[in-house]
Structures are given as structure tokens and as C-alpha cells.
């Protein structure tokens, strides 16, 4: 049975959807069969980030409400034959979702995939609950700022209360230059404050925005960019590989002493 992981944050716009797409593609490059589930009902975007918006026929609400079978709603990625999107509905709202149906859809899918990644919407309301309910693990995304870390802390509390074991952390939009100039929270402090296992530091990279404009997943099309390499390392760490955290730029001396906490 596959691993079901919710990608979440609390705060909006920190990179949940970007990380879901790139992590999914990276895992499928490693030979895994992966389905990405867009749980942002009414505000779907994962299709756009993957460049699959023109190929959607059915969505998860169609499955939940009996208009189609699961397989009819899955959309295959343009590059990775082992990567699929299960789109959100754009015409429903999060209040229309029946959480029990989502849970049974996901538990039916889990048997045919190595990974089910659920892209959670912003907030801690029903959309968040619908994404968390079927999940067994969580990937918490933060950007290095006070609001994002604060919201992540709140979400970690909620995830733990809901029995989600195995929470890990990705720090996104990291600006090594700012960190070196002591003007940005460094990853060590964030890990210490939140107390989760760090599985990735993704640098701020203009290539992310460029590839998103084109509807081309970064790791699929621009694998040599620094952000793509960081996404691929997240995938390898999630697979259990011990990938050392290397310096993101040559002058940096400070932040190689990452540790795992709370075991």
C-alpha cells in the first residue's frame, strides 16, 4: 500500500502546490508510481502548475458524487508515465465536500500507487480537514518568515491532534544571500523552533516562476536549476536516502549542521 502524505502549511502562497508537483515528478523519476490530488476545491491550481488544465475531463467531486469512476478522472503527466493528477472541482466550494467520500476515494487509490500526495488549500478550515482526513503523513511547508513559521506551528499542533504521524519540514524560498547577511531566519532556527525532521531547503529561484508560467514542472524540464535539484533531494530523503544538506552557495559556512529532532 502506498504512502499518503498531505502537503500543507497553514499560510497561503508558501509553495504547497509547487512542492506537490515537483516532489511528485521527482518521486516518479525515481521509479515510483505517484498520484497528486488537488484538494483545493473551488480554487484548483495543481492542474495549471502541471500544465494539464486542457486535459481534465472529470474531477474528484465527480467521483465522490458518482458521476464517474476513479480511473476516468486521473490525468497522466506529460513527461512522467508514472505520475497522475486527480483534479479538484472548480465549480464546488470546500463546504460541498463530503469528507467520508474523500477518505474512501483515497483509500481505494492507495492500493495502486506508491505515493498519494494531497495538495492542501490555505487555511485550517474544512478544506484543510478534507486533505488531512485521508492522510497518514504530513509535509509541512514554511518560508523563512515569522508569519509562516507561526502558522506552521499551529498546523503542526492540529496535525498531531489528528493522529498524523511522521511530519517533516520543507523550507521554501530560502535566500542564502539574505541568510548570510543575517537578514533572514536561518533553517537551523526554524528546525529548532518547529521540532520536525527537515527534508529539504528549496532556494528562491526565478526558474520556478518561469516554469510555472509555461505549465512545465521544473524538475521535468529544467532539472539543472538549483531549485529542481533541491526538489529532487526532498524526494530522495522522503524515500529514506540520507542525502546530506550541501551548501547552496560556496561562501556559506554556517548552515550545514542540520539535525533530526524529537525521536
Amino acid at each position: 500500500m502506498g504512502r499518503t502524505i498531505v502537503v500543507t502549511a497553514g499560510k497561503g502562497g508558501v509553495g504547497k502546490t509547487t512542492i506537490t508537483a515537483n516532489l511528485g515528478a521527482s518521486l516518479s523519476k525515481l521509479g515510483r508510481k505517484v498520484v497528486l490530488v488537488d484538494m483545493d476545491i473551488g480554487l484548483r491550481n495543481l492542474d495549471v502548475v502541471m500544465g494539464l488544465e486542457n486535459r481534465i475531463v472529470y474531477n474528484i467531486m465527480d467521483i465522490a458524487e458518482g458521476r464517474c469512476k476513479i480511473n476516468q478522472a486521473l490525468v497522466r503527466d506529460k513527461r512522467q508515465s508514472g505520475l497522475f493528477l486527480l483534479p479538484a472541482s472548480q465549480v464546488h466550494t470546500k463546504e460541498d465536500v463530503d469528507i467520508d467520500s474523500i477518505v474512501s476515494i483515497i483509500s481505494a487509490i492507495e492500493n495502486s500507487f506508491d505515493y498519494v500526495l494531497l495538495d492542501s488549500p490555505a487555511g485550517i478550515e474544512k478544506g484543510f480537514e478534507s486533505a488531512v482526513a485521508p492522510s497518514k503523513e504530513g509535509l509541512v511547508v514554511v518560508t523563512p518568515d515569522v508569519s509562516s513559521v507561526r502558522d506552521a506551528d499551529r498546523v503542526i499542533g492540529l496535525l498531531e491532534n489528528r493522529g498524523i504521524l511522521g511530519l517533516s519540514l520543507v523550507v521554501n524560498r530560502y535566500d542564502v544571500d539574505l541568510v548570510n547577511r543575517k537578514k533572514m531566519l536561518n533553517a537551523d532556527s526554524i528546525v529548532e523552533i518547529l521540532g520536525l525532521d527537515l527534508v529539504g531547503i528549496v532556494p528562491e529561484d526565478k526558474a520556478v516562476i518561469d516554469s510555472t508560467n509555461r505549465g512545465e514542472i521544473l524538475v521535468n524540464y529544467y532539472a539543472n536549476t538549483i531549485a529542481a535539484r533541491a526538489f529532487e533531494n526532498v524526494a530522495r530523503r522522503i524515500e529514506g536516502e540520507n542525502v546530506p544538506f550541501v551548501s547552496l552557495n560556496s561562501q556559506n559556512k554556517g548552515f550545514m549542521k542540520f539535525f533530526r529532532r524529537g525521536k
Binding site: R150, G157, E160, K183, L185
Partner: protein, 82 residues
């Protein structure tokens, strides 16, 4: 003399976060939180002479448990207690 040097903003961010999270993690309202602090001071003052302004409260989450940690600077033991 560096009297007016601005402090590093990474350190300021970290301090602000730690302060905010103690309150957030307690899930108490600010008023309840203050009352808890006063209660702690009152109970401990029955036994010790303490430095009230030096009290630090910290809430940490570890291993799926929430741990409240209070650091209370003791000046002396009250000998005359019953």
C-alpha cells in the same frame, strides 16, 4: 560606541517567534495566560522568595507531547512556612 546600531533582523525574528509561540501553543487566551502566570507565582511564593520579573515560561512540543517549562529564579527559601 555603537549605541545606535540596529540589531540583526534574523535574531529579532527568532525572538519574536519564540515569544509568540509560547502564547499560541498554550491555546489559552492572553488573559488566561496572565492568570496562569500569576497563579504559578503565587503558589511558588508560598515556599520561595522569587524574582518575579525573571520568570520565563516556555512551551515546547516534543515527541507529540506539549511540555510547559517554567524558569523561576529563586532568591531564598522561606524558612518560616508552616
Amino acid at each position: 560606541m555603537k549605541l545606535f546600531r540596529r540589531r540583526r533582523s534574523d535574531v529579532i525574528a527568532e525572538e519574536r517567534l519564540k515569544f509568540i509561540l509560547v502564547q499560541d501553543r498554550s491555546l489559552l487566551t492572553p488573559a488566561e495566560f496572565e492568570r496562569m502566570k500569576e497563579d504559578i507565582i503565587r503558589v511558588i511564593s508560598n515556599y520561595f522568595e522569587i524574582n518575579k520579573s525573571g520568570i520565563e515560561l516556555n512551551i515546547q512540543r516534543e515527541n507529540r507531547k506539549t511540555i510547559l517549562e517554567a524558569t523561576v529564579p529563586v532568591i531564598s527559601v522561606k524558612r518560616s512556612s508552616t
